[in-house]
């Protein structure tokens, strides 16, 4: 294969971007590393790695409670990261951004702190067939605790969600619409803005799993008018265990705390306690300081590229990949129109089990994810035990897709399929 070919959409200078990611310089099984698993976790640019190192070398201290210079620096950096994340997602006020380990923790926070307080027997929680287990299981747990019931929103045969069908399921019993902003399996992007308006008209709140949406698209929570949006920092060039939850301020104020402990309180008595205002009400104990500060650098990096450019680069690459996969006879699941989907591309190739496929790809240096992608409900709907998924980000090129295709063809030969 030629060393240089045409690269991404031309909206991003991908060769320059790749040079910012040290891990992409390494090889895997003696081959060029082709990382196509960013929906799982993204790689980290040098700037993010340096930020974490510098934090520990120069500023490390616990937040808020100390009066020395180091602690003031650490606190300013941490709160600066909050302001940055708020601005990145269009949140009007940094107080609406709660830091935590990401989407799983955020949905558990909402299900417990909002759900246990406000859900009553017979109330309905709607979630879709697209959802990741982290947007299903916390709701099942809170339903069990409160007597609320869960209802499943079916997907259409093409892997999309029909907003009208969802609207027909919204009744005065509906209290929560929990929905993915972008599917981690099919790439499907539901009409969040429209669904937020419909949920509100029915008297429900909308909780958006933003794990895949936020890293790959410009997002404006004020324009979308959502109540909650989760953010997984490690999927957007940030460190693992970074990210958090956007919540509408009135809701965050009305909710119960989630974890109790140090720093989330105002006053503690033997028989009761009073709590801080959001967001600190939801941040008990020593926080993931270095990680959130690292996330701020990741946001700087993404803003430097421009989220519109990130989106159009991935749209172009996804279109290229879908076409290339179809050309070798792979079945691609989910919407085919790149305008309607993100860059997680799940497929089935020649009846070779995804684990076998991924094993052969690994030998070629190509990292993909086989399995159910924490979406067993969706796998059953698709009628497959598992899929193979390739997913793209700012450092991926057409060359990477070509390497995937070549490795798939090799697997086909190997298994004689």
């Amino acid at each position: 294969m030629a060393v240089t070919q045409q690269h991404g959409a031309g909206t991003l200078d991908v060769e320059r971007i790749k040079a910012d990611f040290p891990i992409l310089e390494r090889t895997s099984h003696g081959k060029r590393l082709v990382y196509l698993d960013s929906a799982n976790t993204s790689q980290k640019p040098r700037a993010v790695i340096d930020t974490i190192t510098e934090y520990y070398e120069r500023h490390n201290a616990n937040l808020y409670r100390a009066v020395y210079e180091l602690a003031e620096e650490a606190t300013a950096m941490f709160e600066g990261a909050r302001t940055k994340l708020a601005s990145f997602i269009g949140a009007p006020d940094p107080s609406t951004v709660v830091f935590n380990r990401g989407t799983t923790e955020s949905i558990n926070l909402v299900a417990n702190a909002w759900g246990r307080r406000f859900l009553r027997e017979g109330d309905e929680i709607l979630f879709s067939e697209l959802e990741h287990h982290s947007n299903i299981v916390p709701w099942q747990l809170v339903a069990e605790a409160t007597g609320a019931v869960t209802r499943l929103i079916p997907i259409e045969d093409d892997g999309t969600l029909d907003a009208a069908r969802i609207e027909a399921m919204l009744t005065d019993r509906t209290k929560v619409l929990a929905i993915s902003g972008q599917s981690n399996v099919l790439g499907t992007m539901p009409a969040i803005g429209r669904l937020a308006a419909s949920a509100h008209a029915a008297g429900a709140i909308i909780v958006v799993d933003g794990a895949q949406l936020v890293p790959h698209n410009p997002v404006d929570v004020a324009a979308l008018d959502v109540d909650f949006l989760t953010i997984s920092g490690h999927k957007m060039l940030g460190p693992t265990a970074s990210g958090g939850l956007y919540g509408r301020l009135e809701l965050l104020e009305a909710m119960s705390p989630f974890l109790g402990g140090g720093e989330m309180i105002m006053e503690v008595y033997p028989d009761h306690s009073t709590y801080k205002a959001p967001p600190h009400k939801f941040e008990a104990g020593t926080m993931n300081i270095a990680e959130e500060i690292g996330l701020a650098t990741a946001i700087d990096y993404l803003e430097g590229l421009g989220m519109e450019n990130v989106r159009s680069h991935e749209r172009e690459l996804t279109a290229y990949a879908i076409e290339a996969l179809a050309s070798i006879g792979a079945t691609v699941y989910g919407p085919k129109d790149p305008e309607q989907r993100g860059g997680a591309v799940s497929f089935w190739y020649k009846d070779i089990h995804p684990h076998d496929l991924a094993q052969v790809l690994d030998q070629e240096g190509v990292c993909v994810r086989p399995g159910h992608h924490c979406a067993q409900v969706l796998m059953r709907r698709l009628g497959v035990p598992a899929t193979t998924r390739a997913s793209f980000y700012v450092y991926n090129t057409r060359q990477d897709v070509d390497a995937l295709i070549a490795a798939l063809e090799k697997a086909g030969e190997f298994f004689g399929a």
Partner: protein, 149 residues
Amino acid sequence: MALDELYKEVILDHYKNPRNKREIPDAALRCSKNNPLCGDEITVFVNEDDGTISDVAFVGQGCSISQSSASMMTEAAAGKTREEVEQRIGAFRGMMAGEVEADEDAFGELVALKGVVKYPVRVKCAVLAWDVLQEALAGEGEAGGSAPH
């Protein structure tokens, strides 16, 4: 490690032409299990005759490692006494844990699966059918009937 060290000819042969891949409708012992990690599922059927495994078969779906392991397992178990089979299950687990030296005299074709030991994620695939067989022998499944869907 080269691919053909993991995917030996024997494995690919059993994967493409699985032995005893069928239901035994009137099986005395039957057990099903799945591997939630990858969605693989296997049902094992066993009939015994006077302390000997007179017939053993499996159905299910999964990767080449899980399917070929199940196929080889049925051949390794058929005609053996219950004690011999249980001993063999223990030995196979030992091989997959890297604790037992896998020599061809003791393991026969199963020695082909020893390459899996280097891939911890795939060990579960190889062991799945053997877990199901052990549970079937212990009477933990249901008797008779067909496989669940």
